[in-house]
Amino acid sequence: MTPPPIGLTHYLVVAAILFCMGLFAVITRRHVVAVLLGIELMLNAANINLVAFTRYLGAPALGADPVLNSILGGQVFALMVMCLAACEVAIGLAIVVCLYRNRGLTNADEAADMKW
């Protein structure tokens, strides 16, 4: 008995597990940086999905003109996700540092007031 060849499903399962781990971290953890870490895990899972779909489902549906047709569109989107993740982390950490300096809070549950 031989295992099935590595295909789309393998990568999707890995990405799904990674996403659920990230979701778990976002929901259960209280430290704001830990929540950010969970978000990073989820973004990475989404990236794996994008690349997997590009790799295994990309070309046949799209026809001629290999350069202009977005055979690698999913990978381009994954790069965009990385770019936005960088922005998100920079802004998020700046807000967190600000919150900590002003209020001494690192606990997301305690930072529930919009005005103080």
């Binding site: 781990m21 971290a25 209280r30 990475n44 590009t54 900590y100 300096r101």
Partner: protein, 225 residues
């Protein structure tokens, strides 16, 4: 099943287990700094997965942007913040060793504290392994079993970076430019949020009433990176 198929299975299994195992470290580590450090091998593993799928540009960007910038930034952030909320795991995950196993536990912990650097070495070597597997997968030595283009037209081995560059400058030019604007705005915003004015020591959103501990230079640097 050829040798190449087995190699692919083995590579996938190794990289997937490495990624998910270190992701487990991210969500279960009690100290935030440890969780942030566990994120590094996770991101390396995801880079390995990209490489297995032939996404070379993404593999490189994952290492440069995620591992080199984002993860390091988060580690800095975790160091700047007080780690008071030493996280308690949810109740159903908390496990107390029964008292009769206490000596055994202590023995394990004794060896564990001595073995910590060994563990760190294993994790570091695993990250290196992910990179080496990715590099090996593209060598001529490997491809004597596996022709360069095997499974349909989406498998442009070795051509990936050039194609992505072309797509960014033709079809996806507008998102590309928008991304640069978003990055600029985000970085300026981060600097403004995290800075402290030189004269009176206040900063954005400060009420001026309570002045917190001074550790701002490092924060600024971390935010501007």
């Amino acid at each position: 099943m050829t040798a190449q198929d087995w190699l692919e299975q083995l590579g996938f299994l190794l990289v997937a287990l490495f990624t998910l195992g270190s992701a487990l470290g991210v969500i279960l580590a009690r100290r935030v700094l440890h969780a942030a450090l566990w994120l590094l091998p996770t991101l390396f593993g995801v880079a390995g997965i990209f490489a297995l799928m032939g996404a070379h540009a993404l593999f490189a960007m994952q290492l440069i942007v995620y591992v080199g910038a984002i993860a390091v930034l988060i580690v800095f952030g975790a160091m700047l913040l007080e780690d008071d909320a030493r996280e308690r795991l949810p109740r159903f995950l908390r496990y107390r060793v029964p008292i009769k196993y206490e000596p055994a536990t202590r023995l394990v912990m004794h060896y564990y504290s001595g073995m910590q650097h060994v563990l760190a070495g294993i994790v570091g070597a695993g990250m290196m392994l992910a990179v080496i597997i990715a590099a090996l997968a593209e060598t001529a030595w490997f491809h004597q079993w596996r022709p360069l283009v095997t499974e349909g037209p989406s498998d442009f081995v070795g051509d990936n970076v050039r194609r992505i560059g072309e797509l960014f400058l033709t079809r996806y030019l507008l998102p590309f430019e928008l991304a640069s604007i978003v990055l600029l705005v985000a970085l300026v915003g981060a600097v403004i949020l995290a800075r402290r004015d030189a004269d009176d020591g206040t900063h954005a959103f400060s009420t001026g009433a309570d002045e917190p501990p001074a550790e701002t230079e490092a924060a600024e640097e971390a935010a501007t990176q």
